[in-house]
């Protein structure tokens, strides 16, 4: 009976199910996941729960420190800091997750295919990566803005176009070491197709570095967004994002430290949560780390 129920859950891979069981035991990872879920929830509900509107100014108030009305203070135009951080999280989290997902999908597939097929295919694919690497990023962005104007979609494209390159290189390097192992030969001799081998045997075994790199990519993408917004791609004032709030905060750090402190704090918490979750995921996905 027990066997039967286990079989019915089998549909996916048992690695995924085992990983989830292991992840649940990891307190730090579960804390990180909970914080991330809360942040996402707040971001989704912002229009309904935000105390003020993000562009509502109160020039009389000016930049004032945290108070009962404005918990995290106000900026130089008297806009509520908490509200702006909440609205900012919508942009930043979306950019962080979507752009990273784009980079992840393209990068992992590109790297895995190049590494696994090897030879001339690999050489050509990796030279394409090299060429794209060599493209001056700033000029590329300015060109995009000049041609297509400013939009969120373009922002994802631009970030995804850069970030997947590193991912592809990392994955390819890992695949090169994995594919020489005998279990890949065993899979070939079983008559599995190339795609089945990449999906079932190669990618699960390179997940560790992929996850670690992903958790590092998300915060760097969030900061990159503020740079792109500065260049005119992405969000425009009075809209806010964590990146733009932090860069504004840096400018007035000496007079109004809370303008830097709170956005930076939120970003740090996100970063920590991501790292905890990432470490937990990496361990959970490797059956060798658990002994029972």
């Amino acid at each position: 009976m027990h066997e039967l129920t286990m079989m019915q859950q089998e549909e996916g891979s048992s690695l995924g199910r085992d990983a989830w069981l292991r992840l649940r035991k990891n307190k730090a990872a579960m804390l990180g996941a909970t914080i991330l879920l809360l942040l996402i929830l707040v971001a989704l509900l912002t229009p309904w729960i935000a105390p003020y509107s993000y562009h509502q100014q109160n020039l009389l108030l000016g930049a004032s420190p945290p108070s009962a009305e404005h918990w995290l203070g106000t900026d130089v135009l008297g806009r509520d800091q908490l509200t702006r951080i909440m609205y900012g999280s919508r942009v930043s989290l979306m950019v962080g997750f979507i752009a990273t997902a784009v980079a992840l999908i393209i990068g992992v597939l590109w790297g895995a295919v190049a590494g696994f097929l090897g030879g001339r295919v690999d050489a050509v694919m990796m030279r394409i990566v090299d060429v794209l690497y060599a493209l001056p990023f700033t000029i590329f962005i300015i060109l995009l803005t000049v041609i297509f104007g400013s939009s969120m979609l373009l922002l994802f494209l631009a970030i995804g176009a850069v970030e997947w390159l590193t991912m592809a290189r990392i994955v390819r390097g890992q695949v090169l070491t994995i594919k020489r192992q005998e279990f890949i030969e065993a899979a070939v001799s079983m008559g599995l197709s190339r795609w089945q081998i990449i999906r079932r045997h190669i990618i699960p075994n390179v997940l560790g570095p992929i996850i670690v790199y992903t958790t590092l990519t998300i915060p760097s993408v969030i900061l990159l967004e503020s740079f792109l917004s500065f260049l005119g791609l992405g969000i425009q004032p009075p809209q806010s994002s964590w990146g733009s709030l932090i860069s504004a905060g840096v400018d007035s750090m000496e007079e109004y430290p809370w303008l830097l402190l709170f956005p930076a704090l939120v970003l740090s918490i996100t970063l920590f949560s991501l790292n905890f979750l990432g470490d937990g995921l990496r361990d959970a996905l490797d059956p060798r780390t658990s002994k029972d």
Binding site: M7, A123, Q181, E185, A187, G191, P204, L285
Partner: protein
């Protein structure tokens, strides 16, 4: 007896403390070593034989390791009480070490001569010139030809056997009193092993050296040691003079070890007759490997003659139901031949006819379908199983891919496979790392059998296993071969295994077949010079060959 005792180890206990609990790796080990004596420490992996010796020189990482108790008296001091500086003075100077893998125990970025000079000047202050001439003399002593020139080479320019010679020169250069050799010949071919053993023996005699020789191979121990110490699970189960241990073993474990050594021929007569139909025929098979030549060369200049070793003009016939042994040393091309038949490497030219069908001519999709008829068992059960797949996943994958089972029946079939290879059904959800080497090889065998193939190519399937486990796996292979009427190509470097298992033998050397014949004929009347060298190099137990002691 006690007058010339050089090293006296008493009640040594070493434990490893990890998050997952503590384990006593060495449990109450005592032995003595006299000048000029060779002590062979024999045991299977995990028996604590290496840990016991490494802990004498403070080479066991602490933590997790911890020396719990005991003493090791050498030259008037207790090695276990010495601090790091004291131990450095002993290591290399008074006690030299040779490690198992000559590929990794030399620094690849340093000239051989510099490594020798470094270890010499560490212990004996002398100017570079003297050190250099001493180093060259040391290399000459271990049989490196043209030592003055070769000394300037880097380790990768030496072969495995030559590197092990360099290691021995390095261990002996400071003229130590004791040499600890940890499986120094395990990574080497059998003919090279014979040379290295002779070299150690020669150095031992001429320098009156005391040697601790750690090995899993009873034959090697019998050849070099005077005294034998048998370890099992951290304990010494038996020790004594060689003749006594081998001829009148007292402990049940020693008897089991000796029984597992394959000295006899196959336990049953060949099942096949010469008249059995030809099952696999190989005609004029060539496989070559191209040296990597960098991007631009491979993109634009495809005609550079960059290929190196491979196999040349192989002609071979395997009859139905036969177990054919393919023997040779590393680099002989035996694995390449196996992989060429499996279509795992690109064949240059020739035919591989499986029941009359040329595998080399099949299209990619035809080949995928045909693959179920021929399966492979790989050498290293640690590398041949995907670490992220459970037993169930690993065995279900071929069944589902080839439509042998659907989601409903697959569990039943996986259970049957596990029964076939003697794996407990309860282990079905476990991952490879939770199994021992022998159990992993059982999983790999079950996976190869899943598709009910007719031909099995087994590439050194037992060489990574302990001797008692090896006997079990060989028995299992024999049983399964009979039960499923398999035809087997058994690739091995180990002549005794081949003699035990195979009906017929093919000997390969440098990419070519040099001899072919019935097992007993090849063993009793070898025709080719190379076969004779191979056979002569096999270490024998005293009971099997009377004239080993010298």
């Amino acid at each position: 007896m006690s007058a010339d005792v050089l090293l006296s180890v008493k009640h040594l206990r070493v434990a490893f403390h990890t998050r997952n609990g503590s384990m006593l790796a060495v449990d109450d080990v005592s032995f003595e070593l006299s000048a000029g004596q060779v002590l062979g420490i024999v045991g299977e992996s995990g028996s604590g034989k290496s840990v016991a010796c490494y802990s004498l020189l403070g080479l066991v990482p602490t933590p997790p390791g911890k020396i719990e108790s005991g003493s090791a008296h050498f030259a008037g001091q207790d090695l276990l009480q010495l601090n790091e500086a004291g131990l450095r003075n002993i290591r290399g100077n008074k006690i030299g070490m040779v490690f198992q893998d000559p590929m990794t125990s030399l620094n690849p970025n340093m000239r051989v001569i510099d490594q020798l000079i470094e270890s010499l000047r560490q212990h004996q202050p002398m100017d570079k010139k003297t050190a250099r001439s001493k180093a060259i003399a040391a290399l000459e002593e271990v049989g490196i030809h043209n030592a003055a020139q070769r000394a300037n080479d880097y380790p990768h320019q030496f072969s495995g056997g030559m590197r092990q010679r360099v290691m021995i020169a390095m261990a002996l250069i400071a003229e130590p009193e004791i040499l600890i050799a940890d499986e120094p010949t395990t990574a080497l071919d059998v003919t090279v092993q014979a040379q290295i053993l002779a070299l150690i023996k020669k150095a031992q005699v001429s320098r009156k050296l005391a040697v601790i020789f750690i090995t899993h191979d009873l034959g090697v121990a019998a050849q070099i040691a005077d005294h034998i110490l048998v370890m099992q699970q951290g304990r010494v189960v038996e020790q004594g003079p060689k003749a006594q241990v081998f001829e009148r073993p007292q402990h049940a474990y020693t008897q089991k070890l000796l029984a597992a050594v394959l000295t006899s021929a196959k336990p049953y007569p060949a099942m096949t007759e010469k008249t059995d139909p030809v099952f696999l025929q190989i005609k004029h098979l060539y496989t070559r490997f191209y040296q990597p030549r960098g991007l631009f060369a491979s993109l634009f200049n495809r005609n550079l003659p960059g290929y190196a070793k491979g196999i040349n003009d192989i002609n071979l016939t395997i009859h139905k139901g036969e177990i054919l042994g393919l023997v040779g040393e590393s680099g002989s091309g035996k694995s390449t031949l196996g992989r060429s038949i499996m279509q795992l490497v690109d064949v240059h030219s020739g035919e591989v006819l499986l029941q009359g069908r040329d595998l080399c001519q099949l299209s990619a999709s035809e080949l995928k379908g045909a693959r179920r008829h021929f399966q492979m068992i790989f050498q290293d059960p640690y590398a041949s199983l995907n670490p992220r797949m459970t037993v169930f996943d690993a065995l279900a994958e071929p069944l589902l891919t080839h439509g042998f089972a659907d989601r409903k029946t697959v569990l039943e079939q996986v259970h049957q496979l596990m029964d076939d290879v003697g794996l407990d059904r309860r282990f079905i959800r476990k991952y490879p790392h939770e199994f021992s080497g022998g159990q992993r090889q059982r999983i790999a065998i079950a996976r190869a059998l899943a598709l009910k193939p007719k031909l099995i190519i087994a590439d050194e399937p037992v060489s990574a296993l302990d001797v008692t486990i090896r006997a079990q796996i060989l028995a299992l292979l024999l049983e399964l071969t009979q039960k499923h009427q398999l035809t087997v190509l058994f690739i091995s470097h180990d002549m005794s295994v081949v003699r035990y298992l195979c009906d017929r033998i093919v000997v390969m050397n440098q990419g070519q077949i040099v001899e072919e014949g019935d097992t007993e004929t090849v063993f009793t009347a070898p025709q080719h010079e190379y076969t004779r060298t191979l056979l002569a190099a096999i270490p024998q137990l005293p009971s099997a060959k009377a004239s080993v002691s010298d």
